[in-house]
């Protein structure tokens, strides 16, 4: 791999792996307290995947006007609900475990 300006690169490129949440504890008490976070993490993950998929299909040009409207509305609605629910549960983006976890190196 050949790179230049790693720091700036990290800021501007988005990698799929960072969408995978870190391991969630199996401890029942922790799980219960973290349930809202867990559920919202799932929805946020799905939202991002849907958005990516929608944009790719836009690139390919294989969406009818009706499909664009349906997809666009679904994405808008999802985003709106996410904003509402994050506010309801007092969660920020950081809380949804969607940042990169500890990285293991390839041996």
């Amino acid at each position: 791999m050949i790179t230049n300006e790693e720091e700036r690169l990290r800021e501007q490129l988005s990698f799929t792996e960072s969408m995978i949440p870190e391991r969630i504890s199996a401890d029942p008490e922790v799980v219960e307290n973290g349930l809202a976070r867990l559920v919202l993490s799932i929805i946020e993950l799905v939202r991002r995947l849907l958005e990516k998929q929608a944009l790719r299909r836009m690139d390919a040009g294989n969406l009818s006007d009706e499909e664009i409207e349906r997809l666009g509305n679904a994405l808008m609605k999802l985003e709106e609900k996410m904003t509402e629910m994050k506010a309801v549960f007092g969660l920020a983006d950081d809380d949804l475990n969607l940042k990169l976890g500890p990285v293991k190196t390839l041996d």
């Binding site: 300006e5 929608a54 664009i68």
Partner: protein, 212 residues
Amino acid sequence: MRAVVIGAHRHRDDISGDAIAIPLGDLFLSAVELAPQQPAGDRELLIRVAKIRARLLDVATFIAVRYGFVITNESDAMSKCGAHVDRWRALLDEHRNDVELTLKIAAATPQPRPKRTEFANGADYLRALHAATQGAAIDGAFREAVDARLVPLAKQHRWIHRDNASMELALLVARERIDEVNAAGTALKSFDVPFLLSGPWPLEVFAQEVEQ
């Protein structure tokens, strides 16, 4: 049995090591078996599969299947992939000694994400999101250098707008030219543009029928 599929290969002998081979017509799927309750989304497993993929690529090019596709047996594989076999065989025969290299480039003009609240309907919002990915352009001089120095080394190439802050160039390159592409990539460091040249990879972009 549950196994997460890695790729589609032309010959049985192309698959070895930690991957199992599952026949698919006259082709073969490589896969890694999952323990009974093991989820496919396990990070350790992902890293292990990445290493196995690299070793398989050393032998011959194959068609990469996006991670997450799990099959149970040969007939399961055929019922889900049967429709692709002819197209895959043609690709594998044609590109047995070709690999993909990827150049990711940070945009000089990253586009801000459109604000949902500024749109009256979903269609306009989605179109704006899409426009933002198309609008992210890279430095002109850098683009010229890439077109002049890297693209000619490839059999095929494709510029891709992945998001609103970067662009990507997918290159289909003959194995024996990998070093040349890397050398040209190294020379690009003289530009003040953040980029990442990675590979070799199996057939990913160039195996797709439609943009996925």
